[in-house]
Subunit: 139 residues, 2 copies
Amino acid sequence: MNRDTRLSDVLHVLLHMAMVDGPLTSEVLARSMGTNPAVFRRTMAGLRETGIVSSDKGHGGGWRLTRPLNKITLLAVYEALGRPNLFAIGNRSRHPECLVERNVNAVLADTMAEASTLFYRRFGEITLDNIAGSHEFGH
Amino acid sequence: MNRDTRLSDVLHVLLHMAMVDGPLTSEVLARSMGTNPAVFRRTMAGLRETGIVSSDKGHGGGWRLTRPLNKITLLAVYEALGRPNLFAIGNRSRHPECLVERNVNAVLADTMAEASTLFYRRFGEITLDNIAGSHEFGH
DNA sequence: GTCGACGTATCAGTTCATGTTACATGATCG
DNA sequence: CGATCATGTAACATGAACTGATACGTCGAC
């Protein structure tokens, strides 16, 4: 099963955007993401809608950050992507009426919920300037 | 991305096996798992190799548990399946030499490592008899 | 020796994310 | 105002991976 790398890809691009003054085009940023402009725009749509970045058409257009890196948490980026599924494992309810199956599902769901909480907490603590510099943010 | 439900499926089957005296055939157990015998055998191969279950050919053959449920941890089952990938997210190293990308990867890898530890700890604490009864094992 | 069961290789089918193309919209510049 | 440049997005193509399916080999009980 292939992993969803959009979060990693988007962070990479955002950090590069922060290093440049003017806007950058999908053409350029897609290359930095290793894909093509249409995929890049599709991926960034949520970040535009939640206001992390803005995009302009026409001459001199392109993408830019709307606020400094220390005002953007990893959690905000994750949520802007639509909170993609974190886990590769899960339940399949073939027999929803079966008590055993319900117990199994509850155990796995509990553990995954705990792990989710951990992800959210950590993501909320990390701002993008923490990532831009050397890897130092509290442990 | 579709979730890997093998762990959930296998637990379900193991608990049902524990409720029966004699061995059960792939035919029967596959039906309980909602699949066909070949897929069932493929899925259970690791559990046979690690000794959680045994299988016998010929008349009166089939699958049986080799030890009671309270001697089987969820972790043992997970490992017998080959420690399937837990996470749906991940890094893609398109630019391994890029410092920014290395920082991004490190942040995500750290968080995933922490979550892995949590999964392993919880899986190690839970034995299958905890799941068989009502859902009570410590919180 | 026949039958019943597992073991497993191999191929087919499906699904889903990603890649691709195409075209519409809108802004800027001359 | 028209040309150009950029985004927005729909629609379709591609490809990889997992599951399902089939076939056949092995082995044990009767």
